[in-house]
């Protein structure tokens, strides 16, 4: 029993192969310099804010390597869901039976994990998106996401000079950051649009931190 617990396998044989590959990819992860590291900025659109009740309608992600985002390797997926809340359509614009090609949750999970690999994830108010994805993984008998993550909302607060810390806000909305950092708000409230915006917010914030010479891995990843 205790052996079982100590050597608890990270996955069991019932898990699908893509999950096994995902989990085992973390075994051999070693840190590269920041400018060679692949970051994945991502966002979700959901039917609401309740982790248990609500569902993910779309996932969008872009990869950043050396300050560059490649348009030919972006991730954009729409998910078939039974739960549908008409009142949220005005935010994300995804109709229940629209023209968008939609896939099942499990297919979305597989493709998402293959896209993010074991790289560092970036999201705005990351906790929410994490929670939503983890709930989805749970529904399919899988574990939680294992990637390191950076929350742009927190990262931005750190980029502000210490003298402003006393009157810093706790939460910066993505809209506020767009304004402050001069990022175009085109395609705001689509998951892929917000992923790109988050990526740009991340790059601009990093460059501010870099000027202050504090750009180290532990600094970046520490919540």
């Amino acid at each position: 029993m205790i052996w079982n617990w100590l050597f608890k396998k990270k996955y069991n044989k019932n898990h699908p192969d893509f999950w096994k590959d995902y989990i085992s990819s973390f075994d051999k992860k070693n840190k590269k310099p920041i400018n060679e590291t692949r970051f994945v900025a991502w966002d979700t659109e959901t039917t609401g804010f309740d982790k248990k009740e609500d569902r993910i309608l779309s996932l969008g992600a872009v990869e950043i390597i050396n300050k560059t985002i490649k348009a030919n390797n972006t991730f954009e997926i729409y998910i078939k869901q039974d739960i549908f809340k008409p009142e949220t359509v005005k935010i994300h614009g995804i109709l229940k039976d629209g023209d968008l090609k939609k896939v099942s949750e499990i297919e979305a999970i597989e493709r998402f994990l293959k896209y993010i690999k074991n790289d560092i994830l970036i999201a705005h108010h990351a906790g929410f998106d994490y929670g939503m994805v983890n709930e989805m993984l749970l529904r399919h008998g899988l574990g939680k996401l294992k990637n390191d993550f950076i929350d742009t909302s927190i990262l931005f607060s750190k980029s502000k000079h210490i003298i402003y810390h006393s009157n810093l806000k706790k939460h910066y909305t993505l809209d506020e950051l767009c304004k402050e950092l001069n990022v175009s708000m085109a395609d705001r409230h689509t998951s892929i649009g917000d992923a790109l915006i988050t990526a740009l917010v991340f790059l601009k914030t990093i460059s501010r931190l870099d000027k202050r010479n504090v750009l180290k891995w532990d600094y970046l990843l520490k919540g």
Binding site: T68, A71, T74, E76, K101, G193, K204
Partner: protein, 638 residues
């Protein structure tokens, strides 16, 4: 799979050339492979001599500067690319390493456009390539690299208004001078000098072209001692030759010459070097075919004997100006050419007037251009501002002498008016007795302006400090300038008045970063780019050179560039002022051409968002400059 990012990129690209010439599906194909690159201020995108990237670039946000390196590896800024400008197209055209360095001028986002995909969807699209070559040439051109490039880049790029010429069949030289492959270089050179030609084609017995020898080959390979004069022509010639068919169009010939960086094309029977040579097309032939060029216009002016001819020539220059602007030729180059033409026109108008006078002038004189012509930055027709200085004469002769020059000036201003330069509303012209005086009187006038400044005098006199000698006795102008600078040494009050005057128009952006528009009058709600943006820069530049005793530089942008040299710690600010001035002047000129007026009043609604952004970007250096002036000349309590 849906790619919203690519759709968004293609949505941006479609508004800018050359992408606006592409089909939507091709644009999306390109956009799907774009790299979105974030650059911090100072980040280097590519360096001179770096191997070419698989992308060329377009600025999405911010600005990227291109620098040329001189022999001592000093950097000179060639151009700043703003949103929508493409750059780094050298690899697209000739797969060469970069010749310039691209550095982010501010925090920027650029799109890397994949060359391979771009080429696969644009092949055979002549319009796209014409645009690219033009854009390439305009960035590649600057005073430092002009020598390296084929001269053909400089003035004679294909453009829409010259399409007719472009698609004409090129008029090549038939029966070109040739020499046999067995000839010695000396034989060839004798033949070249006999026929007064710059190149000779080496042919074989069947008259197939083998190679070409130009004067510079002789300079580089013989005169340097690399080969003896008795060497065979085959050792010297460039080979193989580039060839084409008889029905080649001017546009295609030009593209080929630019692409392969050559000045001569062999015309052969079937278009390949493996057939009989029938002619040679030189870049000079291409230039002549395109006609509208400054050399031809200047020739017309020099030969003119009547005002009417001058008028026609000056009108032609307006056509030239328009095509230059369309082609994005660097403004400095445009300014140089147009002001040379303006000066030549004025000079000729004076010569014509002198012939009409019953007697030659009693003493020597100097005709001065004032204001924008004096600063050599007049592009469109504007008011004529001028003055006349004549040699000192005995007091009893003064009246008659002045009367003579007033008559002369009346003839000149009248013909300038006929040519298209309006009379000056404030009557600041040499035909006005107040501005037609002896050198002693002029010195006294300037002394009075400088030593007893008041706001009215400053308003009146500032354009007189931008004078430029056009015709006559250059020494008079020098004498006057000496007197002015020595008087300036006596007082600092005048400089402070000038400084205050330069600040009278605050930065053109209001509190909410909105453009300040005219509040009332017939120009209500229009933005006055001359008074709000150009004049403050012009006034500032003048103030700076006068207070630093810099002589002989009249251009506003050159004045700022000089200041950048004198004060390295403010280099960046001065350089951005120089750039802003050029950008604003270009803007005003384009507006002027569009609306057929001076271009100084701009209807903001007609501008695109990008244009507004470009304008706003120019105001920042102006604002920073004004803040600096306030401190430097201690104007807070003045």
């Amino acid at each position: 799979m849906k790619n919203s990012i690519a759709e968004r990129i293609s949505d941006f690209l479609k508004d800018f050339p050359p992408f606006n010439l592409l089909k939507e599906k091709h644009l999306l194909e390109i956009a799907s492979d774009v790299s979105i690159i974030y650059l911090e201020k100072g980040d280097v995108l590519y360096k001179k001599d770096e191997a070419f990237h698989e992308y060329f670039y377009i600025v999405r946000n911010g600005g990227v500067s291109l620098y040329h390196h001189d022999m001592d590896d000093n950097k000179h800024m060639v151009n700043i690319n703003d949103a929508g400008d493409i750059f780094g197209v050298r690899p697209l055209i000739n797969k060469e390493d970069y010749k310039l360095t691209a550095i982010a001028n501010e925090e920027s986002i650029v799109y890397g456009i994949p060359i391979e995909i771009f080429q696969s969807v644009t092949k055979n699209n002549v319009k796209v390539y014409k645009y690219l070559i033009t854009s390439f040439a305009s960035n590649a051109y600057d005073p430092y690299t002009a020598e390296e490039n084929t001269k053909i880049f400089v003035d004679y790029l294909p453009n829409t208004s010259q399409d007719i010429a472009n698609f004409q069949t090129a008029d090549y030289t038939k029966n070109p001078i040739c020499c046999n492959e067995n000839s010695t270089l000396k034989d060839a050179a004798i033949k070249m000098s006999e026929f007064k030609i710059g190149c000779i084609i080496v042919v074989d017995d069947k008259k197939y072209p083998l190679g070409i020898i130009t004067s510079s080959d002789i300079k580089n390979k013989i005169a340097t001692g690399l080969f003896p004069i008795t060497t065979a022509v085959t050792n010297i010639m460039s080979s193989p030759v580039m060839s084409d068919k008889k029905d080649l169009t001017v546009a295609d010939a030009q593209l080929k010459m630019i692409k392969y960086n050559i000045g001569h094309l062999c015309i052969t029977e079937d278009g390949t070097p493996n057939s009989k040579l029938v002619g040679v097309l030189t870049n000079h032939d291409v230039i002549t075919a395109l006609g509208n060029n400054p050399a031809a216009i200047l020739k017309d002016i020099k030969r003119a004997s009547r005002t009417k001819t001058l008028r026609t020539a000056r009108r032609k220059a307006n056509g030239l100006l328009k095509s230059y602007l369309e082609q994005n030729i660097p403004l400095t180059h445009i300014i140089n050419i147009i002001s040379q033409i303006n000066d030549a026109v004025t000079m000729k108008a004076i010569e014509i007037a002198l012939e009409k006078m019953p007697t030659p002038p009693p003493v020597t004189f100097s005709w001065l251009a004032l204001g924008s012509q004096g600063r050599k930055e007049q592009l469109l027709f504007s008011d004529q501002d001028n003055a006349l200085v004549f040699e000192d004469v005995a007091e009893e002769k003064y009246k008659d002498t002045q009367a003579y020059f007033l008559d002369l000036a009346k003839l000149v201003t009248k013909s300038l008016n006929k040519i298209g330069f309006e009379y000056c509303e404030a009557d600041m012209m040499a035909s006005n007795p107040v501005w037609c005086k002896s050198i002693t009187q002029w010195k006294a006038q300037f002394k009075d302006w400088i030593l007893n400044p008041d706001d009215k005098a400053i308003l009146l006199s500032s354009i007189f400090f931008d004078y430029n000698h056009i015709y006559g006795n250059l020494n008079l102008e020098k004498e006057l300038t000496d007197a002015i600078y020595s008087t300036l040494n006596e007082t600092s009050l005048f400089i402070r008045f000038l400084a205050r005057d330069a600040l009278k128009n605050p930065s053109p952006l209001g509190f909410f970063k909105q453009f300040l528009v005219e509040q009332n009058g017939e120009h209500k709600d229009l933005f006055n780019i001359k008074y709000r943006a150009l004049m403050p820069l012009i006034d500032t530049a003048r103030l700076l050179v006068l207070s630093n005793q810099v002589r002989g530089i009249n251009n506003t942008y050159e004045r700022f560039e000089k200041m950048a040299e004198l004060e390295p710690n403010n280099k960046e600010l001065y350089e951005s002022c120089a750039y802003a001035f050029k950008a604003l002047l270009k803007f005003k000129t384009k507006q002027g051409i569009l609306h057929n007026d001076s271009g100084k009043l701009i209807e903001l609604e007609t501008l695109t968002k990008e244009e507004k952004l470009k304008l706003k970007r120019c105001f920042k250096p102006l604002h920073d400059m004004q803040e600096t002036l306030k401190l430097r000349f201690d104007l807070a309590n003045f």
